[in-house]
């Protein structure tokens, strides 16, 4: 790789004009990133709960395959899963846009993390609660929806929030399949103007500016929700 500095005429390597040019694309990218993040979170929260309930299923025929599947997804790279879905689904005649595929992949990947969070939350519900539900002869469904889950979910909200932040920082992977999120926008901008510095730096700083306050917020939330 050649290392020549790109001189824009001034002695300064930083060009505010390039930043200004990038801003409209930047906001479009923010929109796509947040969209992926919101839908991906929804998928991972709901699918994770399904896995967590399946971990406690009465039969091994459910527990083992689900355990194997979630461990497999959790221990393999999101990027490769992304390419898998992106290239393999069309071969099975399932056509999704790149953005939909990316959202599904990120939701699926993180559902295996949220499943562990839910599981820890469910395990943390005292045994007495299960026994009380049984003593009141609540049905299986009522035990879960009225007794266990309300107590478990409250406890896990901050931890789930952390995975939302983690998901945010994994959205740039979607650039790999051409989704026009933040990183891809900056790459396109750089490819057009040959000015890599500004667009990439703006995107990098943007991630810190979103992620850091969010993590502070979550810590405050955790102090309030968890005892």
């Amino acid at each position: 790789m050649s290392a020549g500095t790109h001189d824009t005429g001034s002695t300064d390597n930083w060009d505010w004009g390039a930043v200004a040019d990038f801003m409209p694309h930047f906001w479009d990218g923010v929109l796509v990133t947040l969209q992926v993040l919101a839908l991906g979170s929804l998928i991972s929260f709901s699918l994770g709960l399904v896995w967590a309930l399946a971990f406690r299923a009465p039969t091994r025929l459910v527990r083992w395959p689900v355990g194997l599947l979630t461990e497999f997804v959790r221990n393999t790279p999101l990027l490769v899963q992304l390419f898998f879905l992106f290239f393999v689904l069309p071969e099975w005649n399932i056509q999704f846009s790149a953005e939909t595929t990316g959202t599904l992949a990120i939701g699926l990947h993180y559902s295996t993390y949220t499943a562990q969070v839910y599981r820890a939350g469910i395990d943390a519900v005292p045994v007495g609660q299960w026994e009380a539900a049984k003593a009141l002869s609540l049905s299986y469904r009522r035990t879960w929806t009225a007794v266990i889950l309300p107590q478990a979910v409250r406890r896990v909200v901050p931890a789930l929030g952390n995975y939302v932040i983690a998901m945010l920082k994994d959205t740039p992977l979607l650039a790999g399949i051409g989704v026009l999120e933040l990183l891809q926008r900056s790459r396109l901008e750089a490819a057009q103007t040959f000015q890599y510095t500004e667009a990439l730096t703006v995107v990098g700083v943007a991630f810190i500016l979103i992620a850091y306050p969010s993590s502070l917020l979550l810590r405050a939330l955790e102090r309030r929700l968890v005892r």
Partner: protein
């Protein structure tokens, strides 16, 4: 898939992935201990810079950081790193920031009486760290480091987007050559899974050794079931948010 593809792309790809993981893990460990110990330093200034480092590198996306080191650093600094080392630098710096939180947490978890005993015996701060705190803290760090190591292994796949010939990049080339996606991508996922499994087993052995060294004996290896091979038991680290803000890295 032909033997040629396997021999020329996939196998060297696995080797690159392993190398990337090992080098980045070495850098990340050094950063983690340096910054983590700095976060317990007496001087407020040192603590501030260490905290600043962790928040910046945990705050940004590893992939964006990698692109930045790859494309922007050469323009600002006037020199460029070989792609492989740029990737190692990006991975090591960002996962080192996650590791620093682990080190800090484990150091703070050592009983305060131990530190006070060190003061009473007029140990210097460095002697306290080296002889009292670290030997007790390190075994506690290993389960979290194990999780981070698997996250790091998964993170190495990002380098394929920079054109470094790791196993993900090999998969991409093989897909182009054979036009069969399902086969090569399934194989690739299994390769990563096996690597993660080996790393986890290795770390479990290391944990047992380290704990035995300070007179603790965790449960034998076989319990817990092989399916749940990453630590998610014990004090349910999933419920603590302090370390989880990163690339899916559970503390």
């Amino acid at each position: 898939m032909t033997a040629g593809l396997w021999e020329h792309w996939v196998l060297p790809g696995i080797w690159i992935t392993v190398q990337l993981t090992l080098y980045s893990a070495a850098l990340a460990t050094a950063v983690a201990f340096g910054v983590g110990m700095a976060r317990t330093h007496r001087s407020r200034l040192v603590r501030f810079f260490a905290a600043f480092y962790t928040e910046v590198f945990r705050g940004t996306s590893a992939l964006v950081l990698m692109f930045w080191i790859f494309f922007v650093l050469p323009q600002l600094a006037g020199w460029a790193l070989v792609p492989m080392w740029a990737a190692v630098l990006a991975l090591g710096l960002s996962y080192g920031a996650y590791g620093a939180e682990v080190v800090r947490g484990a150091l703070n978890a050592v009983a305060p009486a131990q530190r006070e005993a060190g003061v009473a015996l007029s140990f210097t701060p460095w002697q306290r760290m080296r002889l009292i705190l670290l030997p007790q803290a390190v075994p506690e760090m290993i389960p979290s480091f194990c999780n981070l190591l698997v996250e790091l292994l998964k993170g190495t796949a990002l380098v394929s987007l920079l054109g470094i010939g790791d196993v993900s990049f090999a998969a991409y080339l093989v897909r182009l050559a054979t036009t069969e996606s399902a086969q090569i991508y399934s194989i690739t996922l299994i390769i990563y899974f096996v690597l993660a499994f080996l790393l986890t087993r290795g770390m479990k052995v290391l944990e047992r050794r380290a704990k035995a060294g300070i007179g603790q004996f965790p449960e034998p290896l076989s319990t817990g079931g092989w399916l749940r091979f990453r630590r998610s038991d014990a004090k349910s680290p999933e419920l603590s948010s302090t370390g989880v803000t990163g690339g899916g890295a559970s503390r």
